[in-house]
Symmetry: C2
Subunit: 222 residues, 2 copies
Amino acid sequence: MVEAEDLQSLKTIALLGGCKGPIWLSSQSLGSKLGISPQTASRRLIALERQRFIVRSMKPDGQYVVVTREGEQQLRREYADYIRIFNPKRKQYVLTGTVISGLGEGRYYMSIPRYREQFNKHLGFEPFPGTLNIRLDPTSIPVREEIEHIEWFEVPGFTADDRTFGGVKALPCRIRDYECAIVEPSRTHYKTDVIEVIAELELRKALNLNDNDVIEVEISHD
Amino acid sequence: MVEAEDLQSLKTIALLGGCKGPIWLSSQSLGSKLGISPQTASRRLIALERQRFIVRSMKPDGQYVVVTREGEQQLRREYADYIRIFNPKRKQYVLTGTVISGLGEGRYYMSIPRYREQFNKHLGFEPFPGTLNIRLDPTSIPVREEIEHIEWFEVPGFTADDRTFGGVKALPCRIRDYECAIVEPSRTHYKTDVIEVIAELELRKALNLNDNDVIEVEISHD
DNA sequence: ATTACTAAAAGACGAGTAA
DNA sequence: TTTACTCGTCTTTTAGTAA
């Protein structure tokens, strides 16, 4: 959980344009905006930098500050909360695409028992050790980007047998009548038009799917 | 300026549905959501109540909490900030209405030098000691409510000559080619369909306006 | 189970200072 | 002017307790 004061500082930087590019900012200017002393403002900036929410480059007469992707994500989470408060219409997202073959990273994760246990805890079903890969239609790409910012379940990474396993996140969804979840690595969010879906059963068999079949994935989120 | 922690607590309550109606909430449940002790959560609730952002009704096994209009306004301000961050399209609001006569409260404020000085500082012009009153078209009422939540300049109240003068807020705007500002009292926001506009000159003369003339007020806000 | 007080511990704040 | 340290103070937090 990110500190409330840090979020406040981060938001202030973003309002100054810190998400779009580096902005000049002194401790004093930030401090006066926030009603705190330059010392405290300096401490806040250091804290934000430690959490990798901002990157700074010091100059003799101040510093240039830019919000990182991680910082922006944090702000977007907050933004999503406010949207939930004021736009309580239960929003329904639909992704469309075609079934494809191919080993995604998700399949690998699902082969590891520890991840399956964790997903069981969050999703309410122990997933089948494999994923259904779907290549999204171009029209679904913006939708995918949008759902990137709503609330995913997070399965933290861990170390075992001298190997590190990265964090994975999952978003509950539905394909026809089956409860499923979209899974992807937490960290590296390289843009791709492929999603990987898990379910209790092997979806390919349960839904009698073949490559190139058109399919709809529904996500409901309030 | 509202405390960052208080805002965080208020947001959490709102997410639980506290804007829509009373919700059951114990100090412990709020505390665990926020990662703080029940004691601190209790203090936060007391603080929010003192600031009139929530109203509570105590029950033996917890309390019912609801967010007040004032609290919701606070949250909306925050929401507006995030919209500014992520939807940087420079938004243009237009209010339409007709010129009317009549002493508004704004006119009274503009007769007091101290307010004029303060406005000068914020707006960049010393306003004419009078206001142009405009009765908004019904279609502009929702727009007016929307701009209520964006950033106004605040001129704090003060006491002089054994008399208290309330706070006033102002929103820069434009009428034709004149830089102006909408003014209204900070506190009491009774809904009304009349706005009062100040400018450096007497707008009525400068624009050659008469009662019932139709007029447009533009507000640009990014 | 609650709320909310008191008091001790922890942490944050800003003045002063050096670079 | 900056940043960012130390240090004394003050605030906030939590544990303990009563109602």
